[in-house]
Structure formats: structure tokens, C-alpha cells
């Protein structure tokens, strides 16, 4: 058997984020430790004060497709997918591929609350078309439409773990031989609906968030999209595509504990991390960095630290951890995919991105908190971790290609 058999390659990375359009804009912003968190301006949230968010102020234009209505979430997904596909060698490279695009917001941003009072009147007053982009499958469908994909285009919605789950499922489909190539990731736009929801849960930090800090007060919402092009290493080599990283392992678990709170001991997340390392055939000591879920909420961050203490037992040194939500907020269904892109960016640039505003971290002997400036470090193997409402967890392990390919 070929030594690369069973390995999934990342051959394209596309991003649109509060740093701007493109993967390179995100890498540059991260290396400069630039925070994108500031008061909301792109719409009126109607909350008591403008919430602190990470917004994309200048969304680039897209060519319209006749009869196809795009929500803001759809537009973000298509931008990221087009950015990811730039590395395609020919126009038909992606034709037999599919898409797995995660979202939680989807087309909510386009719908007004008055729909609930009298739907028929809402539709007749011009709301009819806005609803076509409502379903969770629509961002995936839009990516398929704009890239001319003939493979399956599934929407994935697993709350805030969605983006990482989409990448894991796409990799599974590729390894199972169901499809030769997938564009996988997540997309979510800021929307009054979700700001209202997280505000009602008292989960929003009125200031820029401080993940893992003892004085953290909650999360900030962000928006964006990230899409990875995934295919087997053999397939990538056959079409002479650049291999940016290798997805060595992944896992998905559920806490089976509570709809909104994580297992306080982080058991489900620890198991997820352990299973991903088992799949990748790596020891805890080989992981050089964890891009954490790190929302900045009191419950999440403590549970996450407990998970690291369990999963990384036996290391000779604490595991370096940071939360890049301190740069661009919590992008919900896009978060796991954006953070996968961040993880690969760190590996490729040889830098560990710190958590911003982390001055008084949760004490843990198992964790090496990254704070201050980016830390130069060669990273052969790194991990990203996601969790979400409903208790879902996902973990992805990436490797630089010259080690495994």
C-alpha cells in the first residue's frame, strides 16, 4: 500500500474574514496581532448599545446568477470557495467534486420578525424571495452553483462545531471513495437574530472578549467564511495540485450532557481530542499547538482547560494553546473552518498566534498560554478544537506536507 494511502490533502484554502478578503489577508492580520473587534455598524441590532463584533464592512461584489438569490451568509461562502478554488489547475478540476458547507445562521439575516405574525402578508409585501435563502443547505447550494460542482452539496449544522464537522465529514466521504474532491468549510453572517439570541442568553461581552482570562465576561460574535479544498494525496498528486497541509486525523463526539452548557469536566471534548490523536497515530507530545474553541464564556473556557488536562496527560511540556476568537470573534458555523485555516496559517508561517488581551489566564499546569506577541515555532503537527450547543465536539489534526507526503 502507498504510504500516502488514506491521507487527505488540503490543496486550497479560501477565507473571507473581518481581516478582509482572502487567506493572505487573514494571515497578515494574525501576524500583526490585529484585533477586528469593534462596535457593530453594518446594521442596527436594536440592543441597548451597539454590541462589540467582528464585521466585514466591505463585502466584495459577486457576479449574479439569474434567478438565484444569495443571502449574506451565501455570499461569504461563495467568496471563500472561489478563493479556495484559485489553485485549481483547470476550470473543470472541481466539477466532479462536492461541497459540505456548515452554517448556523444561513439566511436568517434576510428575514424580518414580522414573518411570524402573518406569513402570507409578509410574502406579498416583498418577503417571498428572501425566504428562499433561509435553509441551512443554501450556502452549500450556492457554492455548488457558483463553482459548477456536480457532486453532492450538503449543508451541515452542528451549532458552533459545524465548520470543523463539515471538514471531518468531507474527509470521510473522500476516504470512503464517495467523491473525489470536496470543498468543505463554514460560513455565517452577523444577523440581528443571532445577536438577539446570544444577548438573551447573557453570553455577550460588552467589550472585546478575553478568552481564557480569569476576568472574561463572554463572547463577541463575528462573521466570515473559510473553505478548504480536500482530496486524497494521490488525487492531488495526479493533478499536480499544491499540497498545503495534510489532514492527519479527526474525531467528533457529543457530551450528551446539556443543550447549552458543556460537560463541566470537559469529558466529551477530551475524548474527541484523544480519538483524533489515535486516528492520526500521534502521541499527545507530538502536537505542537492547539487552536482552541476559546469563546470567552465562563463555562466553556473552564471545561476546555479540563479537557486539555485530561487529553494531554503525559506530555513533557504544557501544550501551547490560544484562542483566535480574540481577533475576529465567534463566527458560529464558520468558526471551526476559520480556525482550521488559522491553524494551517500558523504551521505554514512558523508562528504561534497568541490570545489577545490574555493577561490573567486560568491557571493550569497542562497549558502553555500563548499571549503577547506571535511565538516563532516550527509546527509539524497542530490541532484545532471546536465545540457547540447541543454538546457536539470536533477536533482536526493537520500536518505540514513535507513530513507525511
Amino acid at each position: 500500500m502507498d504510504k500516502n494511502s488514506g491521507l487527505v490533502a488540503v490543496t486550497g484554502i479560501g477565507v473571507i474574514s473581518p481581516f478582509g478578503a482572502g487567506f493572505e489577508a487573514m494571515c497578515s492580520g494574525l501576524l500583526k496581532c490585529r484585533s477586528c473587534l469593534r462596535p457593530l455598524t453594518i446594521f442596527d441590532s436594536e440592543l441597548e448599545s451597539a454590541p462589540v463584533v467582528a464585521e466585514i464592512r466591505d463585502l466584495p461584489a459577486l457576479n449574479d446568477h439569474a434567478g438565484y438569490r444569495l443571502s449574506r451568509t451565501d455570499r461569504l461562502a461563495v467568496h471563500a470557495a472561489l478563493d479556495a478554488a484559485r489553485a485549481g489547475k483547470t476550470a473543470t478540476d472541481f466539477q466532479e467534486g462536492g461541497a459540505l458547507i456548515a452554517t448556523t445562521v444561513a439566511g436568517f439575516a434576510e428575514i424580518l420578525p414580522s414573518i411570524a405574525s402573518n406569513p402570507a402578508r409578509y410574502y406579498h409585501a416583498g418577503g417571498f424571495a428572501s425566504v428562499t435563502a433561509y435553509p441551512a443547505y443554501h450556502p452549500a447550494d450556492a457554492v455548488g452553483e457558483w463553482l459548477g460542482l456536480h457532486g453532492p452539496c450538503w449543508g451541515v449544522t452542528v451549532a458552533c462545531a459545524s465548520g470543523a464537522v463539515a471538514i471531518a465529514l468531507a474527509a470521510s466521504s473522500i476516504l470512503a471513495g464517495e467523491v473525489p474532491m470536496m470543498l468543505a468549510g463554514g460560513s455565517d453572517a452577523l444577523a440581528p437574530y443571532t445577536l438577539s439570541g446570544f444577548n438573551s442568553l447573557q453570553a455577550l461581552d460588552p467589550d472585546p472578549c478575553r478568552p481564557f482570562d480569569k476576568n472574561r465576561k463572554g463572547l463577541n460574535l463575528g462573521e466570515g467564511a473559510a473553505v478548504l479544498v480536500l482530496e486524497t494525496v494521490e488525487h492531488a498528486k495526479a493533478r499536480n495540485a499544491p499540497i498545503l497541509a495534510v489532514l492527519r486525523g479527526w474525531a467528533m463526539t457529543n457530551d450528551a450532557f446539556h443543550q447549552t452548557a458543556p460537560d463541566e469536566h470537559g469529558r466529551g471534548l477530551a475524548q474527541c481530542i484523544t480519538q483524533a490523536m489515535a486516528m492520526a497515530h500521534v502521541d499527545p507530545g507530538e502536537i505542537g499547538y492547539v487552536n482552541s474553541h476559546g469563546t470567552g464564556t465562563p463555562l466553556n473556557d473552564v471545561a476546555e482547560v479540563k479537557a486539555y488536562e485530561t487529553a494531554f496527560q503525559g506530555r513533557s511540556a504544557p501544550i501551547p494553546v490560544s484562542s483566535t476568537k480574540s481577533y475576529f470573534g465567534h463566527c458560529l458555523g464558520a468558526a471551526g473552518a476559520l480556525e482550521a485555516a488559522v491553524t494551517i496559517a500558523g504551521m505554514r508561517s512558523g508562528a504561534l498566534f497568541p490570545t489577545l488581551r490574555l493577561t490573567d489566564p486560568i491557571e493550569s499546569p497542562a497549558v502553555d498560554w500563548l499571549a503577547g506577541e506571535p511565538r516563532p515555532r516550527q509546527l509539524p503537527l497542530a490541532m484545532t478544537v471546536s465545540a457547540g450547543f447541543g454538546g457536539s465536539n470536533a477536533s482536526l489534526i493537520f500536518e505540514l506536507p513535507d513530513r507525511s507526503v
Binding site: 414580522s114 443547505y137 463526539t253 454538546g391
Partner: protein, 362 residues
Amino acid sequence: MSLDQPSITGIGSVSPFGPLRGLISSKEMEPRTVTAWPTDGVRRAFLVEPFRPADIIPGLKTRRLDRLSVWCLVAAGLAIQDAKLDLEAEDRSRIAVVLGTGFGCIELTESFFQSIATNGYAKSDPIIFPEGLSNAPASHVARIFGLRGPNITLSHKGVSGEGALMQAASLLRTAQADVVITLAGDTLTRTMYEWFEAAGVLSSACFGQRPVPVPFAHDRDGFVPGEGVAVVVMESADRAAKRDARVYAGLRSGHATSNQKAAPNLVRKTIAPSSPREVKTVIASANGSHSHDQVERGILQEVFGAGVAVVAPKAILGEFDGSGVLRLITALSQTESKERSLSVLFGTCATGVFAAVSFESP
């Protein structure tokens, strides 16, 4: 049937036929009159009658949950019973949950919008918000039954149920789970019904003006909406045999495409290495709509000619995105035979997505 073939060993459902364990054997159902919201004249649909969940699954608490979550819990409980899975003895970290749904928890999403319309964005309801997330039903199934494996909710128009079956099979084949509780379904709400009405896609049967049209018939004039949830317990044939479980059917293969021209080859690929003439039954997606049924008939004729039995369960279930698994368990009762046979569950919707999943009888 190969040892690793994903196999269906338990079935539960909540449908217009009520909450049921095992296959749905009824062949007739009439749409009911909508009473849940004010209507301008008669409006009909294939609706689930209200029931008390705790009467079906003793002790089950479902207050403040979306109906989709409630139905998923009840149907999953029935399927687990039907499969005779002893959850106390199982490694529940190896049991996954996969849900396919077109619209998720739309009822509570509407309630959340209503709370905003009434109280403003700053004073919306914190209890409703997380329960309106599309993955809430699968999460509740995990929480109530203690299932700690992968928990996935996916969506793709009218093939959301077929997608759930394919994803479940993928998890089993890649050893990411030993058992998958595979759910699919949707609820029907006022916003959806009135959207269909505004779009002009409903049959006049919805307004009491004619009987429900027969799918593929010349006089079809649109669809009748439906709702429901079906759940199948899936595990490898080998595992099922070791615990002496009844196997309803084995999933051989499944594929999906967004390209109509590729759909005939997709079906051929799904039944390979068998030939089309070896297929005993096609479980169609036809719903009575002109374009939908015409496209499907063309694809099936190209692959099978006139030599295959076609059943169209939407005639008694109605149209909804997550109908795939419910159509399957309705049709399997009609195709049960002592001889090994091959069936194809075909899914499509008017906006251009096609899925085929092949099943072998045990």
C-alpha cells in the same frame, strides 16, 4: 450481504400514521384539515395528530422543545426498542446520531421571531433561542439516550433523508461509529404552508377541491405538504448477526449529484455491480408536481425502461424535505420478500438535486 454492510436493525417513526415501531404497513391515508393556524378557507396537509410523548416513551420530558425534537426523541426511542439495543450494555461513545432535515426546528424559530416582534430584539426569549437551532433534535437524542459518538445534522433540500442514510453508512464504513441512530424529518408550519401557497406549488387537493393527485399521473396539479420523522438503527451486518438482530435491509451504496444529466449514471453507479433489471422496486420521490415528476420519470425510464415496479409513498405521506427515511420504511413493507431483492430509494426536488440509495433485502 457483506459483513461490513450497513444494515437496518430497528425502525421507529412519528407520521400521519401516528407513533409506530417497525415498518409502516398502512397503504392509505387522507390529508387532514389544518387547524393549527387561521386559514382563509379549507387547507389540508398530511399532518401528525397531537399525542402525549410520555405515553409512548414513559418518563420522556419534552416541555419547551420544538415538535421536531419531540418527534425525533419518540421515534428514536421506538427504533432503539425495535432494534432490541440494550443501551446499558453498549459502549455509547460508539453510537452516533445523524439527522437529515430540510428546515430543522422551524416552529420554535418562528416563536423566537414572534418573541422579537412582540418584545423587541433586546428582550427575546432565551429559552426558545437554543431550542430553535437545527441540531437541537439530534442533540436531545444524544442527551436523553446518552449517545456520545458523532452527532451530525445535515440538510440538502428534498434529499435530506437520503443524505442522512449515506452519512450514517459512511460513519460505519470508516469505523467512526459502531451504531448510528439515523433520523430524518421535518415539521409543517404556517410560514412554510403559506410560502408554498404563495409560490403556487400546491395541489388543489390542499383546498379540498379534488382528491390527492396520484404521483406521475397526467392530471397531477401540485403536491400536498406533509410532515413526520422516521428513524432507523444502523449497524454492520456482522454486528447485527453477532447479536442476533433482525435485519430489515442492508444499504449497499448511495450517491448524490447536483447535475440532472448525471442522474441516470448516478442510479447505475448506486446499484452496481447489479444491472437495472435486477432491481425489484424503486421508491420514488414523485409528489404530484408537474416538473418534479416529469424529471424523475425521465431519469427512471432512461435507467430501467418500463421493467421496474415504482412506488410513490408521498401519495400517502405528502411532501417534505426530510421524507427519505419515512418513504423507505413505508415502502419496505410493500417490498418484503423471502427472496433476496434490490431496491432503490430515489430522491430529487425541483431545484436540481438527485440522490439514490440502494438497499438489499436480507
